[in-house]
């Protein structure tokens, strides 16, 4: 039996360090795949013994791309442990920062990390600017930068750049590969919007700067948010700051509605074959988020919580984060060891003892039958799950939420595609755009909620009644859940005598990029690659499309911790 092994390492245009090995059959179709996290930092171990009020700052540094999400999960888990309920304004400001992150991160993903899988920059050289302008006006009538003159300038920029011979980040890529199907005009339009989106992403994120002081890595606070509100002060959140937030949200609505979504649907219409590729597991999980009545009331989340199994949209199963039997992590194919006899552990009992058994670097390939990743394999009731935009949109859709039904139905109608098209690489990429549309309008609604509170004289942003550690119980455990742009994120903390005794995070990319478990079940990336035909194994465009559709974040995925006081084992390199 002839087998070809394709190794992609580094997988680029992602956060962190990911390696994919794919085994092809004689027809060039992927029949097995391995997803390997090739980095480990041990941040949760570093957290042990520290002040739980500091944990948000440490965990925020798990990732600078999805910055804020770990800070949010962290303050929530500490507040949960200590019995703190934050003021409504703090929840609203957190929602505003959360939704801002979604919109900004999804646009960056689409244009700067994912687009080059579908857009051929070199082909853009052949585009006719007048025809491009006509296309752009048809695709998005309300986007103003669509004249022949504008596209003539962009075409000249691309031409000169390509002809300079210094192609920088665009060199040695897969231009001209048969999998690229856009006409030159669509390619030129996409290149122009790559540059427009790059300029805009630094604007929308100023919302984080207003409330959190900086981005990346804005500030959070256990008990609320650190930015005080005082409409009579020039040193607090006041009308000038609020006006800036509102203006940035209005611009964001324009970008999502008139740039991102039209581009997404236009490009998708050329790649409908990808609505039948890359579906993968078919099991979806969402913790849900954007609370309207505090984090304790998931029924009032804008993103609902739930589980979908085997692509069955007729049923949304409940998910109970307090049940320690539901979420567990396995290490059968991960470079760790557990105490003898234990196959899987809940995060509160989690053990992380690294035990590298892979080949000594430099190496050519890993062994799919052995341990092969720094990521553990989290499972829900023993099942491998996909998390992320598609999971959220499907759970919202299957839960019967009208706003989800509306955006999904409209998009499927415009692409003339059935609902089954969602279970695919294209569906994953489309879901990210659809939830951005929901998110950007919710963003304005959250802003209006804040204004309504301020009108009613409600200004409080923090509850400090349990700030002082002397008010804490001797021992407490808590969890904090959120939906990072890349999917379900959970933090678990165990506080003893005012210090962190144990801390664990299970992050979206650990779910999606996980290696196989003890039963041999693939993780979501691996499963999604199976059955994908490759035109040219030396140019892994197909692998990149599906992997990028998940928006990998490997710094997040390879976090990890050890139990109380445990020292790390010596790692043997053979």
């Amino acid at each position: 039996m002839s087998t070809q092994r394709v190794v992609v390492d580094p997988v680029t245009r992602i956060e962190g360090h990911l390696r994919i090995e794919a085994m092809l059959d004689e027809r060039g179709v992927i029949k097995d795949a391995m997803s390997t996290g090739t980095m480990w930092r041990g941040i949760e171990l570093i957290l042990q013994g520290r002040d739980p009020r500091d944990a948000w700052a440490f965990t925020e540094r798990i990732c600078g791309v999805c910055t804020t999400v770990h800070a949010l999960a962290s303050v929530r888990c500490v507040e949960n442990a200590l019995g703190i309920t934050v003021p409504e304004n703090a929840d609203i400001i957190r929602n505003i920062m959360f939704l801002t992150q979604y919109v900004q991160d999804h646009v960056i993903h689409f244009y700067h990390l994912h687009a080059l899988d579908w857009v051929d920059i070199v082909s853009a050289l052949k585009a006719d600017p007048a025809a491009t302008a006509a296309l752009a006006q048809k695709v998005s009538p309300h986007w103003p930068l669509s004249t022949t003159g504008y596209f003539t300038d962009v075409a000249a920029t691309v031409k000169k750049f390509v002809e300079s011979g210094q192609l920088g980040i665009f060199q040695n890529a897969y231009w001209g590969h048969p999998a690229y199907k856009l006409p030159p005009e669509a390619n030129l339009m996409a290149v122009a919007h790559y540059l427009e989106a790059l300029k805009w992403q630094k604007e929308i994120i100023k919302i984080h700067t207003i409330f959190g002081g900086k981005n990346p890595h804005p500030n959070y606070l256990v008990g609320g948010m650190p930015c005080a509100i005082d409409l009579n002060s020039d040193n607090a959140i006041n009308i000038e700051r609020l006006n800036m937030v509102k203006g940035l949200i209005q611009d964001a609505i324009h970008i999502i509605e008139d740039l991102y979504l039209p581009d997404l649907l236009a490009i998708a219409s050329f790649y409908l074959d990808w609505a039948a590729i890359g579906g993968g597991l078919g099991n979806y999980m969402a913790y849900g988020d954007v609370p309207q009545n505090g984090v304790g009331d998931p029924s009032k989340f804008r993103f609902p919580r739930g589980i979908i199994m085997n692509r069955n949209l007729a049923e949304v199963l409940p998910l109970d984060p307090t049940d320690t039997k539901q979420i567990e992590e396995e290490i059968a194919h991960s470079w760790y060891e557990y105490p003898a006899g234990q196959g899987s552990l809940h995060p509160f009992e989690g053990v992380t003892k690294p035990n590298y058994t892979g080949p000594k670097p430099p190496y050519e390939q890993l062994d799919e039958n052995g341990k092969y990743s720094w990521l553990k394999a989290p499972r829900w009731k023993g099942n491998a799950m996909e998390v992320g935009p598609l999971a959220r949109v499907l759970v919202g859709f299957a839960s019967g939420r009208p706003e989800f039904k509306e955006v999904v139905t409209e998009a499927l109608g415009r692409l003339n595609a059935p609902a089954a098209a969602l279970f695919s690489t294209l569906g994953r990429t489309a879901a990210r755009g659809l939830e951005s549309r929901l998110a950007v309008h919710w963003l304005m609604e959250e802003y209006e909620r804040l204004i309504a509170n301020l009108k009613a004289g409600i200004n409080s942003t923090a509850d400090t009644s349990k700030w002082d550690p002397s008010t804490w119980p001797a021992e407490a455990k808590g969890f904090g859940l959120t939906e990072a742009p890349r999917g379900a994120l959970g933090h678990w903390v165990h506080i003893k005598n005012g210090k962190i005794a144990n801390y664990q995070a299970i992050v979206p990319s650990t779910w999606n990029a996980s290696p196989k478990d003890g039963k041999g079940q693939h993780g979501a990336y691996e499963a999604a690659l199976l059955g994908t035909p490759m035109a040219n194994p030396k140019q892994p465009v197909e692998i990149l499309r599906t992997i990028h559709s998940f928006d990998p974040c490997l710094a997040c995925a390879s976090h990890v911790l050890g139990p109380d006081g445990e020292t790390l084992a010596t790692v043997k390199v053979r």
């Binding site: 580094p10 956060e15 041990g42 430099p362 050519e364």
Partner: protein, 373 residues
């Protein structure tokens, strides 16, 4: 600058991109202003960009979180697009690169071969040194090896952010992977430390454009940081400093003082021991900065800042000046407490604190303690 191989100059490239001379001169003026240079320096900027080629840059990622790359693309003057398309040739950067896998590694090797001594190595993150460096590999090779190999022929090394400059979060106690900053691993090369978690976007593009403009490295302080961005304490330039001097402090989150924007010193602010440009440039094109938005500085550009916590514990036990104190009285109090004169301010405390910390930290040999005042 090494002129080993003829490359188009920055001006050539701008001209090829359809930028006329008038626009080019305007661009030089704006860039000079962005770097805080006076009008007489504009001529030098023009000259540099007319003669210097677009320099290849290899941007490596080790143990990190990519916040530095994100900050880089937040830069507003110049914007990232200008830097990447017009000023440098960003030949290798796995976060933005179109190609993947062996095609990318090919590029890195080709640049090293074709431009010996003629490329800049930018490093985001640091290298795990424990257990043979197995905690970070790229293309099957340890990051530690890649870093050393790529640095060998580099003209200069730019250490982006606190990870590359001083270790940052993964090097915090107990540093499970033996993460080491770049200057501990690379010797015999100029290393520019650009600390911060992350550094401000305009600081990052400022460092790059300084090198391109003047054809030399910026002046560095004794820990390798560009003086132009890291010479002053936040505390000395803080908008809330007046409240410190007047003894007006935030006592609890969201109290009256917090709403009026009083000093955050009692809430643990590290402004008095942090050297960075946040108080001057602020963040995200001057919108705000941590202290401006109500949270104390956590000192993210200082070495070992993660182990100088907890963050909400105030820096010093010296008596805080009362509401009635004058600046002169405050000076006296500080002088008595420190015992070494007014200039020491909180200095001696910091030295002691750093020394105490060294005893606690297991791998103290790998750490730096700096008692700055």
């Amino acid at each position: 600058m090494n002129e080993a191989k003829a490359r188009p100059t920055t001006y050539d490239v701008l001209r090829e991109h359809g930028v006329d001379r008038r626009s080019f001169l305007k661009f030089c003026t704006v860039m000079a202003a962005a770097m805080g240079l006076d009008a007489s320096a504009v001529g030098k900027v023009v000259e540099a960009l007319e003669k210097k080629p677009r320099i290849p840059v290899i941007w490596l990622h080790g143990l990190e979180c990519t916040c530095c790359s994100e900050s880089f693309i937040r830069s507003s003057h110049p914007i990232a697009q200008d830097v990447v398309l017009n000023m440098i040739s960003l030949d290798y950067d796995d976060t933005l690169q179109a190609a993947a896998g062996f095609q990318v590694e090919e590029i890195r090797k080709r640049i090293m071969k074709e431009y010996p001594g003629g490329y800049i190595l930018a490093v985001e993150g640091n290298a795990p040194t424990k257990d043979g460096g197995i905690y970070c590999t790229v293309g099957g090779q340890t990051f530690l090896d890649i870093l050393k190999e790529t640095a060998e022929q580099a003209m200069a090394v730019v250490a982006w952010g606190s990870c590359a400059s001083n270790g940052c979060v993964q090097a915090a106690h107990p540093n499970p992977t033996g993460a080491q900053p770049v200057h501990k691993l690379i010797h015999g090369k100029p290393v520019i430390n650009v600390p911060g978690c992350p550094p401000i976007g305009e600081v990052m593009t400022g460092v790059i454009t300084y090198i391109l403009t003047f054809g030399r490295l910026p002046d560095l302080d004794r820990v390798g940081r560009p003086k132009m961005f890291y010479a002053q304490r936040l505390h000395d330039k803080c908008l809330r400093r007046g409240f410190f001097d007047a003894g007006q402090f935030v006592e609890a989150w969201d109290d009256d003082g917090a709403r009026r924007g009083w000093c955050l010193y009692k809430m643990g602010c590290r402004g008095p021991s942090t050297y960075n440009s946040c108080a001057t440039f602020k963040w995200n094109n001057g919108v705000s900065w941590p202290i401006g938005s109500g949270h104390g500085c956590i000192g993210c550009s200082e070495a070992n800042f993660w182990d100088n916590g907890p963050f909400y514990q105030r820096l010093s036990t010296i008596p805080v000046p009362g509401v009635e104190s004058t600046p002169d009285q405050i000076g006296k109090v500080a002088a008595i407490a420190a015992g070494v004169g007014v200039a020491a301010h909180f200095g001696s405390f910091l030295v002691k604190r750093a020394l105490d910390r060294r005893k606690e930290v297991a791998e103290s040999g790998d750490r730096e303690s700096r008692g700055e005042s």
